[in-house]
């Protein structure tokens, strides 16, 4: 096994565990410090996915749960971008999954009791593999904002949850994609778990007129950056090397 490690995660760029304005984090945050590990095969390797794992329609949320000849109600959008590492290199063949509420802010989940209705033609989840250039795209409807029980009057900005694998378990990441210009973004206690405003900006998809399909769908671009990797290692004697 080739020795190569991922760059250390910048824990001051990510949100800390305890962020009291996001109330659920208070009882769900470890109090002891994390124990820091240097990379070993357990962290450097991770699951591998292929085209056999998914269906081609899985990245099309306009179609993947709709009745034949019908489609969901809402603003039709393309969400696309590249998965890169911190060196700016594409991450090809990696699994990208997403889930979201419908145009009214309602999730198709039995625990969601918000009074906005379910859309019969919208499931709200999708998945795809990046191509050889690290590129991915989804077609969906823009999700609506929804209220949640945090403060008395808290509303999540429109967002799409995204899950990305990379090539090693240490790159595993779940995040949320927001939309340019949404005035709810900077009011949100979950967004504001992130201390650095530049880091928050990294989660805001940009309106991408060049990728918009005239008379069909608006496009947003959202690039995702996973941890980069050293090509040389200071400790040069891992097992098998």
């Amino acid at each position: 096994m080739k020795p190569a490690e991922f760059y250390q995660r910048d824990r001051e760029w990510h949100p800390p565990a305890l962020t009291p304005d996001y109330k659920t984090s208070v009882s769900r945050s470890p109090q002891y410090a994390l124990i820091s590990l240097q990379g070993s095969p357990s962290e450097i390797t991770g699951p591998v996915f292929g085209q056999n794992d998914i269906d081609p329609v899985d990245n099309d949320l306009i179609k993947n749960y709709a009745q034949p000849g019908e489609g969901p109600i809402g603003e039709r959008i393309i969400l696309h971008g590249r998965v890169l590492d911190e060196n700016g290199r594409p991450v090809p063949g990696t699994l990208v999954e997403l889930w979201q509420a419908n145009a009214g802010g309602r999730y198709r989940h039995k625990k969601d009791t918000y009074l906005a209705p379910i859309d019969l033609n919208f499931g709200g989840c999708g998945r795809t593999l990046t191509d050889e250039n690290g590129y991915y795209y989804f077609r969906t409807v823009k999700p609506g904002a929804y209220p949640w029980r945090n403060w008395v009057n808290s509303w999540r900005p429109a967002h799409i949850h995204m899950s990305i694998f990379g090539s090693g378990f240490a790159q595993r990441l779940i995040t949320q994609c927001y939309f340019e210009g949404d005035p709810l973004i900077h009011k949100c206690p979950i967004v504001n778990t992130i201390p650095d405003p530049d880091a928050i900006d990294q989660l805001i998809a940009r309106l991408d007129m060049n990728a918009t399909i005239p008379l069909d769908s608006i496009a947003y671009k959202f690039d995702i950056v996973l941890r980069g990797r050293r090509s040389t290692l200071f400790e040069n004697r891992l097992e098998g090397n």
Binding site: M1, H14, S27, L37, P41, D53, E86, G88, T175, E239
Partner: protein, 206 residues
Amino acid sequence: MPQELNYLKETPSQTAGPYVHIGLAPGAAGFDIYKQELGWDIAGPNAKGERIRVEGVVVDGTGSPVKDVLLEAWQANSEGVFAHPEDSRDVENGFRGWGRVITDFETGEWGFDTVKPGASPARGGTLAAPHINLWVVARGINVGLNTRLYFDDEPEANAKDAVLNLIEWEKRRATLIAKRSERDGKVLYRFDIKIQGEDETVFFDI
């Protein structure tokens, strides 16, 4: 002004939120959308080694079960090989080594079937004691929590494991050791995760 390094920054993490199941385990959440759900079968039908079941619950700082958790497991096969191109050795056909489970919405219990992993390569040419890497996400968890499950019937390997020995508080190492028992003739390991408070599970920055 010094030069710029020109690295990109890693995309910041956000909580998986309360509805992670519809995205990552829709079938398990009772939502039929994909032909094939990923992560239900960690070891596959051909895996050698001892078939085991792992069960547990994730508990918050108040001692209450966390009922909206999603866990992912990553492990080597019974010979300590990871199903990954950088591991030069082969695994059994169908062995993936990766799985994901959600908790029961009423009880918070989770569990998965797999094979017990073998000792796998660690740093410096040493071997890691058999272990399963776990990643825990849920509402209220801003960055997924990494931990490791070790086995209580591997005391000698555990005593030499470099990662366990990194934990200077010996008492805390016990939070990573799953307890073996049998049920209906099947081998069962119990592994409860305590996110916060007394006997808080050790989590890693990997």
